[in-house]
Symmetry: C2
Subunit: 701 residues, 2 copies
């Protein structure tokens, strides 16, 4: 590659403008000079009618971006008098805006919504960037910058946008020692050596990335709150938390903390964490007051209680509502909320016990408590009933609790989907979850309509996710994993966006507008989930990974464990019988339409077949092939597809800057190599177990 001569050298120079660190905020110069000339006058002035910190962030972003992309240094003004320019304002900033924008249009926006509209009058050529409130201005600015980067015509814009979800959040799983639980992109950007890093620049850039895709809340420490992190809510660390919150505040992002449920013991000096104990309640009331004295707009707590050995109300014979409400009462006066995680199950299960079913646990624990939670409690529910597998059905808790706030929890971090060494673009998976019809109130009761609060008029609801970033220069380890971060934000802003739209946007912003790059990378991303699924656990059965770290194949890795995660493969067949008829009865947690569909082998979708049914290897799928042949076929195909990803990427040499081209190529090659380990272990395992030959006589060991 180094020896391809002068053309490449020139190209390298041009490409060095791109920096992996900037992700999709690549303010590289626009090579289409025609576009720049056409918009010259518009870009030459920024008129700012609002002085808030958030609008200041918008102005700064816009100013730097225009300078960098268009080579124009805009003049800055606080007056609407100019003929040309981009106007940043909230609706109430200037009465004359009402001439152009009807008050009705703004009534229909929610608090974070915005309108972008071109205003032509005589020789006046303005672009109005108007938020319902200041954060709308910032979101609109990032929207405009997307359009600019994609070289869209800005002459006749009329864009009305409101986020569909009120809560759009990220959960960091960062520990104060600098490690990140399930983190695959270096260490924490927040902490090192049990202190805050104090890296303001990096945090500010992170806030820019978050805000640019509409994230409005971040919990900044691991839901497993260990000894030292328990002290984040004390005077020892609250000044540091406040400094982080200040950085995030300027980008419209609220700061949350994961709290140790037993803090009343560890910090409060009490001998109990009984939620009905007056002293415990008082302890939390005082603690919350103290937090808000440092951070007046503190978001609230994320709590993992009675889950995987974390403390919780069960110790005191209280239920989750008791526990969550105690915290919620303390937060209520300040507007804070409690995210109470539903990831509660028996993690000391006996593998011999076929009656206990981990998939049933969250529903069994929480459904009976519907209506008992205060309105500033939000139940946080993982997308599936298990744990972020490559394929799971949707959690039956969605739709089943009309009187309890819910947020959906995704995992952007690729714990079970290749750990950012493998390409696995999750937007298509997430869309499937959001579009899933629960039939909670008849047809159309999709998950997205539940978590956006529409169906049950939730007070607080939305979507959250486990972060995939770390202090690697490119934030996400695999540069293409940036697409999951971007896609997550964009999708939860508006779950009606198609995966294709989001993907194209991300590629154009990240790599530029070259149509070959767009087509090729788009195809790679959109197929990648299926590819990953092909060479890993088949037909919805899940797991088959190495224990603890969860990377790489181990078919029986969890088969005889305490974790409730089994596939029950024997020499005749494989799968978990979760039917009402003669299985664990999990299907009964769904509303009728889904229950009926999953209950029957005939109607259960193939991709979830082994999640719901034990079937013989000779069972014929809807595709016509047997289960065993499907396993062989998909695993051989998956490796071929992984190889193809490498080949496809190589075709883009010269069109992508060297750093990212090489970094991504390395990861794709590692994936292709590692996919063979998956293929061979799984095929060999099932060949040895079933004794059934591959119809195509391919090499199985």
């Amino acid at each position: 590659m180094e020896n391809q001569g002068i053309d490449i050298q020139v190209d390298r120079l041009r490409r060095t403008e791109y920096d992996d660190y900037s992700c999709w905020l690549q303010y590289t110069s626009i090579s289409n000079r025609e576009w720049v000339e056409h918009h010259q006058s518009l870009l030459s002035q920024i008129i700012v009618l609002n002085g808030s910190m958030v609008v200041k962030s918008a102005k700064q972003e816009l100013f730097e971006a225009i300078k960098s992309m268009a080579g124009i240094t805009p003049t800055l003004s606080n007056e609407l008098t100019s003929q040309y320019g981009i106007v940043l304002a909230t609706y109430k900033d200037h009465p004359s805006l009402t001439d152009h924008l009807s008050s009705e249009e703004f009534q229909n926006l929610n608090e974070e919504g915005y309108i972008i509209t071109s205003f032509h009058s005589g020789s006046q050529r303005q672009l109005l960037i108007v938020g319902k409130t200041d954060i709308g201005v910032l979101y609109a600015t990032f929207h405009l910058l997307r359009l600019i980067k994609m070289e869209e015509n800005l002459d006749d814009l009329y864009i009305v946008e409101s986020p569909k979800n009120q809560i759009r959040m990220i959960n960091e799983w960062d520990n104060m020692d600098g490690s990140i639980e399930r983190g695959y992109a270096g260490d924490s950007i927040y902490y090192e050596n049990n202190r805050f890093t104090g890296d303001v620049d990096r945090l500010k850039d992170y806030a820019r990335l978050l805000s640019s895709v509409g994230i409005n809340g971040v919990s900044i420490n691991n839901v497993n709150v260990h000894e030292i992190e328990t002290n984040l809510i004390t005077s020892r660390f609250l000044p540091d938390v406040a400094r982080v919150a200040e950085i995030f505040r300027a980008y419209g992002i609220k700061t949350f903390l994961s709290a140790n449920y037993a803090s009343s013991i560890q910090l409060g000096g009490l001998d109990t964490a009984d939620p009905l104990d007056k002293n415990v309640q008082e302890c939390w009331i005082e603690k919350v007051k103290e937090i808000y004295s440092y951070i007046p707009d503190f978001g609230g707590f994320v709590v993992k209680a009675d889950s995987e050995h974390r403390p919780g109300p069960f110790t005191y014979n209280r239920n989750h509502a008791d526990g969550a409400n105690m915290l919620a009462r303390a937060l209520k006066p300040f507007g804070g909320i409690v995210f109470w995680r539903c990831f509660v199950y028996n993690c000391l299960q006996d593998w011999r016990d076929r009656s206990t079913d981990r998939a049933k646990a969250a529903y069994d624990h929480f459904k009976p408590l519907d209506g008992e939670f205060l309105d500033n409690v939000v139940l946080q529910i993982k997308n599936g009933p298990m744990d972020f597998q490559v394929r799971e059905p949707v959690s039956p808790l969605f739709g089943s609790m009309p009187n309890t706030n819910q947020v959906l929890e995704f995992q952007v971090s690729q714990e079970y989907t290749g750990q950012q060494k493998h390409l696995c673009y999750l937007v298509p998976q997430w869309k499937g979850v959001l579009d899933f019809d629960t039939y909670a109130v008849g047809e159309g009761a999709t998950v997205k309509r539940i978590v956006n609060g529409e169906l049950y008029n939730y007070q607080n609801s939305g979507i959250t996710a486990v972060s995939n970033i770390g202090n690697d220069r490119n934030w996400t380890g695999h540069s293409l994993a940036q697409a999951n971060f971007y896609g997550y934000g964009r999708l939860i802003w508006n779950p009606d966006l198609t995966a294709e739209e989001i993907t194209e946007e991300w590629i154009r912003l990240t790599f530029g507008n070259d149509s070959e790059v767009v087509a090729s990378v788009s195809s790679m991303l959109l197929k990648s989930w299926e590819i990953y699924e092909n060479y890993t656990a088949p037909l919805g059965v899940g797991w088959m990974v190495n224990t603890d770290h969860h990377y790489g194949p181990n078919v029986d890795g969890y088969e005889y464990s305490v974790w409730g995660t089994y596939h029950f493969a024997d020499c005749h067949g494989i799968g978990v019988n979760r039917t009402l008829k003669d299985g664990t009865g999990y299907t009964g947690q769904y509303f009728k339409e889904n229950k009926d569909q999953y209950e029957s082998v005939e109607t259960c979708p193939d991709e979830l077949l082994l999640f719901f049914h034990y079937v013989p290897y000779t069972h014929r799928l809807k595709s016509g092939v047997t289960v065993i042949q499907h396993i062989y076929n998909t695993h051989f195909e998956g490796v071929e597809q992984a190889d193809k990803l490498v080949e496809d990427w190589k075709q883009l040499e010269g069109k992508i800057d060297y750093t990212r081209f090489g970094g991504i190529l390395n990861r794709l090659q590692e994936q292709a190599k590692h996919s063979r380990e998956w293929r061979d272990q799984i095929n060999t395992y099932f060949y040895r177990k079933s004794g059934i030959n591959d119809d195509l006589n391919r090499k199985i060991y």
Copy 2:
């Protein structure tokens, strides 16, 4: 137990004399007053004719023991004039000894041998404890103390003893951070926090234990020599090593160190560890000089080179002889020796590759080098070709290198045999190895005759083992695991001792002479290896353990790994084909008689069948049952036997002091519980894989 009233209270008081810490050196008072009275005069005086440090240790041990056991404070004398008493002397200490002991008898002793003889002449009643050299006096003293503790009559003793093996060694796998690799009895007694503990009392007691069973060499750090331990051979730590050596020296024990092969780089500032490089050689010569300036009787080095990612001569295209000889040349002037470990194999094997066989590796690497090693190099060979499994064939290297010194390496630490949570008394296993006939020079070429140097006139040879002790108060975690430490020492002193003899000795010394205790504990110990084998990996196939820590069942744990440790179970059968005919050819490494026996399914012993052959589950063993039924039977039986161990032990309540009774009971109960996990995982695995029912319809999951 607490409520059984006054009898137990009295018993408890009596029993508190026993202390787990003292292991088999329990100098509790002899309850048989008749015996004490009979020997009163003999025990009333100790006559010491030699002033060496080692004889001083003997005198001190004898004095304290008599005081404690017999309630007599012996007078001490340096003169032979007294009528009564025990005389401690070396042969050359006093010419009058020749009156009683022929010089011929002493000629036949080796340097560490001794004679214990009663001397009666008129009213003179003396017991002569005479060593060929001073260490013989100490060994004889411990011998005498065994007799006293067992209340044997001392009137007419005539005992002639020489150790059968010259090298009788222990390898500690202690790291300076205080951890012990494969240690199951607490942390290191040598190190903590990357420094020496300086716990002189503990080290002295350890030296007493070692010497009491005849161990004469200890390497004090892990064979995996990490960063900090590499510095043990520098002035930073040599003063500390010298202090340890001083403690050991008084008990006739030489101190060795595990050395980092690449020290010339890490310590010497060179950029190579090429053994043929003059600077590297010079570096070691200087280093060894420095070591001996601190420890004039330093034993030498133990080296793990080119093994499991440790550095070695392969890096420089040199062979093991080149590497070992370089170190040996440096040690030669001082009488030091090099233990060069043969645990060399491909630890990055592809599980798909059926041609590579880890079992073949040591032989393939070392056999061709026979005769190339200097005479102060000793090849250190694990008992089996794999890694201390519950059952393995004997390494074919034994007997195959007539011109190269060999020591046999056992593992007293129970890495794969229950980690001192399970009872697994290994003396019967070790005896099997020592008595194995290699047929190297025709019938009778047993391993014990090879490693004792008899067969090939080795200059340096013997037996070494990985230690099972740590800083737990009882040294070995499981108090019954003390028997492995004791048994190892006694067995390598004299491999012709029967397991029954050693076992009875240990029990009587450790728990007293109650015949029910002796019978019951003896039976428990002697059956324990078989019991452990019954519920773990069947028929010699090995492994089936969890990775890394090696505790507990995981049938496929190593099946798709890089470690070369596979069982190849499929739905038809199981086992590794290591035949010459159509397998890996490993059988060809044995001499004809063994090769022929192992090569054929008909003659291969059942207990090693799956090590050598892949057979169908329906293959009938010599016992008449099929392989699958054997698996079921032994696993059900193993659990019943583990339960029986608990019951047997409970029968001894009141006969064993409370601390040890309870501690051992806890471990036996844990074993019984854990044996069920083994049984169920293995039976379920094979039932699911084979689809063959248990003939007896017992519960399989």
